[in-house]
């Protein structure tokens, strides 16, 4: 327990609480349960993508293509719905997951089999996926009236006071808690990122594990693609432009080490919520939205400086008599 209180997650949670207290002191309406639920719903896409990015970063990679993957999958879903309004949402969901996963696999294969650095691979696929949206849609928008009610309605169906979008984020977060803690693959992400050399000694295939991470990240990006397009009832080339950096920022603020192998799902969740609350609070507390960028930039720098300080390893001790004091 005491070790939890000293952990990054606890400090981040405290920072979020402080933030909420600060906002509520001026705008009590912000912390009303209904509004907090709205903020959570609004942050759900960020949470989903950040979870996927987390496993990628854990394995010492980075996925810059998530936002483009989201947009492409979203556009395909929207166009499919516009052309065949009768296709059930379940099929669209499967399509979104599958398409996203395939795009993630393309990234993963190039990292695994061709050993191309992840940042180069995903920088390239980021522009390619984004460009494909234009090629597919010819630059045209798919608008609300072209989408079926079932299509746009799905993420906002209300279950126990929360929309489906929020429930999906909760469900996926739950799955991640379970999957990371309780499956061999989940533990392999840590092993591969923390000590790739040693991972080989325990029979873990480093490249394959990285491939799996990219696949998961892509799959979530695809899922979010459909949800995003349905929620805002519009699909066009630029949706979620630049979102990949916000996703990486959420992970970094959540304490996921960019060097791999360190960080928790709880941290990512809190990092995403932190950004989500800041984003939603700015218009409410009447700080110009133009401050948002500088605030998240500062948060990233503070978080990374803080994490490197607390994460410094003690190293080994040769002097036997010094061992007791250290």
């Amino acid at each position: 327990m005491t070790s939890f209180l000293r952990s990054r997650e606890a400090i981040l949670a405290a920072a979020i609480l402080a933030l909420l207290v600060l906002i509520s002191s001026r705008f009590p309406a912000f912390v009303e349960p209904g509004n907090l639920a709205r903020v959570f719903t609004d942050t759900s896409p960020l949470i989903l993508l950040a979870l996927g990015q987390t496993v990628v970063i854990l394995t010492r990679c980075i996925d810059l293509s998530v936002a483009a993957n989201l947009a492409l999958t979203g556009m395909v879903c929207a166009m499919l719905n516009a052309a065949y309004p009768g296709v059930p949402v379940a099929v669209i969901l499967i399509l979104a997951l599958g398409m996203g996963a395939v795009m993630g696999m393309i990234n993963g294969l190039m990292v695994w089999k061709l050993k191309i650095p992840p940042i180069v691979v995903t920088l390239g696929t980021m522009t390619i996926y984004r460009g494909l949206i234009f090629v597919l849609s010819g630059g045209a928008w798919v608008n609300a009236h072209e989408m079926s009610a079932a299509f746009t309605g799905f993420p906002r169906v209300d279950i126990l006071g929360l929309p489906v979008l929020a429930w999906i984020a909760i469900l996926v977060t739950g799955l991640f808690f379970l999957g990371i803690a309780r499956t061999p693959l989940g533990r392999a992400f840590y092993a591969v990122g923390g000590n790739p050399h040693a991972a080989v000694y325990t029979g873990i295939d480093v490249g394959r594990t990285q491939f799996m991470a990219f696949t998961i990240s892509g799959m979530l990006a695809g899922l979010t693609g459909y949800l995003w397009v349905a929620r805002y009832s519009v699909a066009y080339v630029d949706i979620a432009g630049g979102f990949e950096l916000e996703v990486v920022a959420a992970c970094v603020i959540g304490g996921i080490s960019i060097a791999g192998g360190a960080g928790t799902i709880l941290g990512t969740l809190l990092g995403a919520l932190f950004l989500g609350i800041v984003k939603n609070a700015l218009p409410v507390v009447d700080i110009s939205p133009f401050w948002q960028l500088a605030i998240s930039g500062t948060a990233i720098i503070v978080a990374v400086a803080f994490n490197s300080r607390s994460g410094r390893s003690k190293g080994r001790i040769i002097l036997k008599r010094a061992e007791g004091h250290a």
């Binding site: 696929t125 980021m126 133009f290 960028l293 720098i301």
Partner: protein, 333 residues
């Protein structure tokens, strides 16, 4: 060839080089890239009747000169094993600082000075975080990327600075001689300077050593942190110079200026044969890559291909040039 002959006469003598300069050139990335550039140039001149026109080609250079200036410094930084993703945001901040100075009646010399100093200051900020505090540069500069542009947004909001002095327009719109623009001359000059710096000085050698193995470089008596500090400063300075040119070319400043350029600059550097993992790459490679990207975008522009479709080509080019040799090697195995 003569070297090997020497070797046979005096068995213990180790030749300087295994291959002559010609053989080395033949195997170089730069030559491959140069051929790609020539191919694109030829294809363009067939595809569009407007391509082979001095003024048009001159206009086309504006598509890459400013980005390439940053790419030179970025190349050194990436060779040394670091990266700076905040360059485009530094442009925004420099431009904002200059725009603010205009409102106080600053003249052209002051503006240039302010642009350069702001760039240096941003570079120094990154440098301190990375070299003094030991933070990973990719995360730090994702942070400062938001921070620097964020400051521009705070200052400018949805407003814009305009009213730059008439002489100031020279940097981005002036021509030195006939169709040769000031920006192109500056680009060429910087290319030569960076070529000399990276390939002909002790400093450049240290950059390579650090990128290949920073620990061993440090164990060889190189002041690694100092070299990296200078590289971040240089990148900031180049962003300042690019900010001057771009602001001059646009004649106004908005916080969204140069949005997304950091990735284009990195793409240019990687396409130029610089290993993203550090340790190898060359300035001629980056220069040719700048031309390749400029030619591709201009050529496709003449065919009225939308910008976003061009980016598919750039993305494919980036992955393709790295993947194809590896696929080839795998296939031959």
């Amino acid at each position: 060839m003569t070297d090997i002959a020497d070797h046979q006469q005096a068995p213990r003598r180790i030749p300087d080089r295994l291959q002559g300069p010609g053989a080395r050139l033949l195997k170089s990335w730069e030559l491959l890239l140069f051929l790609v550039a020539v191919a694109i140039f030829t294809a363009n001149s067939f595809a569009s009747p407007y391509f082979l026109n001095a003024w048009n080609l001159s206009d086309a250079t504006f598509n890459f000169t400013e980005k390439a200036m940053i790419a030179f410094a970025m190349a050194l930084l990436i060779i040394a094993g670091e990266i700076d993703l905040s360059v485009a945001s530094i442009i925004a901040l420099c431009s904002t600082a200059m725009g603010a100075a205009v409102q106080y009646g600053a003249g052209t010399p002051e503006l240039v000075l302010i642009g350069l100093v702001t760039g240096l200051a941003c570079g120094a900020f990154n440098a301190v975080l990375v070299t003094k505090m030991g933070l990973p540069s990719i995360v730090v500069t994702i942070g400062t990327m938001s921070l620097f542009r964020g400051i521009s947004y705070i200052v400018l909001g949805d407003g814009a600075y305009r009213g730059y002095p008439a002489e100031f327009a020279y940097f981005g719109q002036g021509y030195v001689f006939w169709v040769i623009s000031f920006e192109f001359v500056l680009f060429a000059l910087l290319a030569v300077l960076y070529y000399v710096l990276l390939h002909r000085t002790n400093f450049g050698r240290m950059v390579y050593a650090i990128g290949n193995n920073a620990t061993a470089a440090s164990f060889s008596g190189i002041r690694v942190a100092r070299v990296k500090f200078i590289l971040f400063l240089l990148t900031g300075l180049m962003s300042g110079i690019a900010a001057i040119c771009l602001t001059s070319r646009l004649g106004s400043t908005r916080p969204s200026i140069a949005f997304g350029w950091e990735l284009e600059v990195v793409t240019m550097v990687v396409l130029g044969g610089v290993s993203i993992l550090g340790g190898s790459g060359s300035i001629p490679g980056v220069v040719i890559a700048a031309f390749v990207m400029g030619l591709v975008t201009f050529g496709l522009g003449l065919l009225n291909v939308p910008g976003i479709v061009m980016s598919i080509f750039i993305g494919l080019l980036l992955i393709g040039v790295i993947a194809l040799p590896r696929l080839w090697a795998m296939w031959r195995h």
